[in-house]
């Protein structure tokens, strides 16, 4: 029975994605400024040449047919050519996507690695000084704009103490054969320890900046759900069984407490994707986020459409994964 429900959910995303595609398409057409002019920036193309190019890109066709060709293209997986790079949008995005994925994953890992233990600690030691400090920090976490935190970290770690790299993904003197494009993964696959060390060091500051907000939210949610769970009868039963306290907390309590955390993290994925545009800008991280901002400026219709579609898709898929995770973590609920 569960399988059909999952299928239904997946099918439900198709109309949603269609809606997103149309909305993006309409939005792009409303952008002032003609892409061909901007694209031809370099050479002094004559008016005739301009219109010839406009035809080749199908920009002069009526709005409706452009939309249809666009939607048709998506089904075939062809998102058209980017004006700025005059290469297929698919390739441009695929080249920039791994950097964004790596940053987003780093942020999630950092957020969970720091947020969950802090949440547990402050729940177990409720109203102690530790609890007040962590919750104070968590409060600060959700009140700090990412770009400011990024700059402050650059000033502290990069400029003053020179401890951590603040720009780009890898040190110059390091070569890395890329397979997936996710440098930390590639360096492990190719056994290149130095590249691994360098890519991790480059991930720390941007990862922490992007993850700080999520970490604060995770800490608060874990804390409040842990407090609720620790008062449940089954925790007293676990203690009555003779389990040592940390086993009670990590095994019995945590498993139940994490369920709401999953939904929170799932919802935050969208914020994370949006947020990384700012972080990528501040840390000049060559990812999709920065690409989208430049593409919107350069009126690069297909590239923006492709990228935003991808963001929306990951957002919807993330929600789907959250639902599936939610069910098998919490047996009571059928999908």
């Amino acid at each position: 029975m569960k399988k059909i429900k999952v299928l239904e959910r997946i099918l439900a995303t198709i109309p949603l994605m269609l809606g997103v595609a149309i909305l993006v398409f309409v939005f792009m057409r409303m952008l002032p400024g003609d892409p061909v002019d901007i694209m031809m920036g370099d050479s002094l193309a004559t008016e005739a040449e301009m219109s010839m190019i406009r035809e080749s890109m199908g920009l002069d066709e009526p709005f409706g047919s452009q939309l249809l060709s666009f939607l048709g293209g998506i089904l075939k997986g062809d998102l058209g050519n980017s004006y700025m790079f005059n290469a297929p949008v698919k390739d441009v995005i695929l080249r920039a996507l791994p950097a964004t994925i790596e940053l987003a994953l780093a942020a999630i890992v950092i957020a969970l690695l720091l947020g969950v233990p802090i949440g547990i600690l402050s729940a177990v030691k409720r109203n102690s000084w530790l609890d007040r400090i962590t919750m104070g920090w968590a409060f600060l976490g959700i009140s700090m704009p990412a770009f400011w935190l990024g700059l402050v970290l650059i000033i502290l770690f990069g400029v003053n103490w020179g401890l951590l790299p603040t720009q780009g993904r890898l040190d110059h003197f390091v070569e890395l054969k890329t397979i997936t494009g996710i440098y930390t993964l590639d360096s492990i696959l190719t056994g290149n320890l130095e590249a691994f060390k360098s890519s991790v060091r480059h991930l720390l500051l941007p990862g922490f900046t992007l993850g700080a907000n999520l970490m604060a939210i995770v800490a608060r949610v874990v804390r409040s759900s842990m407090i609720e769970v620790l008062e449940q009868d089954y925790v007293t039963l676990a203690r009555a069984k003779g389990l040592v306290e940390w086993a009670v907390v990590t095994k019995h309590a945590l498993r139940n407490a994490l369920i709401p955390v999953i939904t929170v993290v799932g919802l935050q994925v969208g914020v994370l994707l949006g947020g990384n545009m700012i972080v990528e800008q501040v840390f000049s991280w060559p990812g999709l986020g920065r690409l989208v901002v430049d593409a919107i400026y350069g009126r690069d219709y297909p590239l923006v459409q492709g990228a935003v579609m991808l963001y929306a898709l990951t957002f919807v898929v993330a929600n789907l994964i959250v639902d599936i995770l939610y069910t098998n973590l919490n047996p009571k609920i059928e999908l």
């Binding site: 901007i38 020179g162 790299p165 040190d171």
Partner: protein, 525 residues
Amino acid sequence: MRFRYPVLLTTLVVILMVGLLVGGCGNSTEQTGADGKTLSIVIDSIPDRKAEADAIAGYLREIGVDAEVRVWEWNTLRESILAGERQVYTSDWGSATFDPYDLAVPKLKTDDRGNFSFYSNSEVDALLMQGSTGFTEEARYEAYVQAQQLIHEDAPWIFGYYKDSIEAASIKVQNWEPSMDTRINLHNVALTEGDTIVVGLRSDKILTLDPANYRDRETETVIRNIYDGLVTRTPDGEVVPELAKSWTNPEPTVYEFVLRDDVYFHNGQKMTADDVVFTFERIMAPDGIDGMPSPRLGLLGPLESVEKIDDYQVRFTLSESFPVFLQLLVHTQIVPKDYVEEVGAKGLAENPVGTGPYKYVSGRLDDQIVLERFDGYYGGSPDLKKSGKEPVKKVIFKNMPEPSTRVSALLAGEVHIIQMVPEDLAPRLEADPRVNVMTAEGTRVYGLEFNTAKEPFDDVRVRQAINYAVNWDEILTELYQGRAHRLSTAFLPSGFGYDPDLEPYSYNPEKAKELLREAGYRVND
């Protein structure tokens, strides 16, 4: 629901506050216009010169001009300028030949390729022509001086300044100094520690590695370390032999070069006169670069033909006498004939083969280019100072457009040489013992060009008024720490034909207001 009323109370307070705020901040922005119309302009600037544009806008606001600054990415701005849509915009132009031929002439002659201000004055055009092709030095100098006088009167630009080009290198780097044309020449550079030298360039991407298919200083830096040319230039701008052993100038329009016979390309092939002839014909042919014309044609001046005398002698014939030809020749690098005919321009660009000290290893144009020392290098030009040390094994050119990134990378030791250090950061580097900061007199003219074809800057009084309104001395001392120097027009002191007695526009707000009132605009009294 027990707290309905305090909740409604708070929303009431919120609405009241909003009203006050909107009211409060509302009145501080509009200016009430009295008699005559207010001159309102938009100053367009590239990111690097935003501070300067903001400062200028500040001065203009002080005399009553409603000035606004808008920051653009250069390509997008350039396209909009050429379409005649803009009013006044930052612009800069470099000269490679220390002669107005590739600076004042293209920027101010009617409809020339660099004339973004649409400035057109037939008398000035005639004088410029006389300047660049006159027979005797005195006649050319006299013509240029008169041209400067007229240009100064017409004020097609807000005349600006030229900057010392500040470059910084780690103390580990030896036998290198910045050259006036800002090309970084690593032919004889050495390192006290380590065998890889990393250079931080100010560009965000290298255009190409084909020496005949680009016009950009940073790309030229990379190319001139991969390919050598017949002649090269010492850091202070003097032309010296490189692939050519010597040359004679039998007639004003003929140059004959004797080539070195011990030069090899990176693919082991020997360099002969055929390669030299092929290199120049490739540039001159309309379809030389895979069917497209080469953008470097302009850098050959009035060259008509290149013939091979024998395996190691070549004759260049020009259509008219052209004293600047040797300076131009520095900017053409020799390519291997057979290799290019085999792989075409695209193949050359992807896997370059030249005669230079470093051969291409790998790289991405928008990231970094990695080069390696070419063992079979003939040793380069005898007139360049040798380091006497073991040459560097590997060179990496990395694009670092953000000035603060370049500086912090140098301080962190990730980079050895960086280009274009911003004036604000220079003191910080000078204070650091691990770094040497060196300056060379810049060969680039900076200013802001008016769109003289369109209202309001078609009126010369308004243009002059704006020139009087800007306090350049304060900008140059404060924003550029005195490392930039005023120019009266578009002529460089290091170039030929500069008139030292022509005073630049002084800072005179009263005169500016007077001129604006004359032109019918309202000013602050």
